[in-house]
Symmetry: C2
Subunit: 129 residues, 2 copies
Amino acid sequence: MTNRREAVREILSHSEGFRSAQDIYAQMRAAGAKIGLTTVYRALQTLADSGQIDVLRTDEGESVYRACATGTHHHHLVCRRCGRTVEVAGPAVERWAEAVGAEHGFTAITHTVEVFGTCPSCTAAASSS
Amino acid sequence: MTNRREAVREILSHSEGFRSAQDIYAQMRAAGAKIGLTTVYRALQTLADSGQIDVLRTDEGESVYRACATGTHHHHLVCRRCGRTVEVAGPAVERWAEAVGAEHGFTAITHTVEVFGTCPSCTAAASSS
DNA sequence: CGTCAAAATGAAAACGGTTGTCAAAATCAG
DNA sequence: CTGATTTTGACAACCGTTTTCATTTTGACG
């Protein structure tokens, strides 16, 4: 069992950036896997619940998933053109978030940070066009 | 014209936190306004396009809107219990985002930051329970 | 091996928020 | 007033996601 779930995790861990559920489903079908869309969703949900993968929503309302290298807290620097993702640690932001929360008397501070930009190769591609 | 659009903006500017489109629609109908859901969406879109309001997606995939006091770039500190929102400026984060992007050769850096916590009164309420 | 119960699977339907369509209504020239 | 233009809103279409439910797979036990 959980053969499918592991297959999904495999795909994710070999992917560079964020992948959508449908994207993963399409890839698995293209690779000849006999799997249903439902199962992909369920696998992703289970993996997310157990903290093995990250989930976030795109501006278009699609959920995207990513297997992160480390289990520790970190953020992402995402290329807005090609989707290339770099994991970045940011002690400065962590401290800032804590400070800003404390300043207003808030407790149990958490935060989400996403940095977007155009990666070197896409910047080159864009300027040459 | 744009009577409806202004009505929508009115609602938003008198609201404390983020409101969903359907939420706003419901309130306007409850208040007796003759307006369609489509028009609310259109008004919100127009306002967002012209930068007069902020949009973001909840984890549930719903778009939520907010009229911000200032037109300048800032972030939000949101109480996860009561939804109370404080606008916070964060020069430190801006600089950090720029730096982290530049470090990896990314250009045209933008970022989204949301800080969540439990506000003073909710913290008190929780501990007394 | 059978047998049966529990878990996993997937096709299709349901769902919910959002967006498109299109005809009717309001608004604006002239 | 008349005709053109814009705005409007009821409704259908869309799209990603979730639920449903019948079927299949799995695993324990005799």
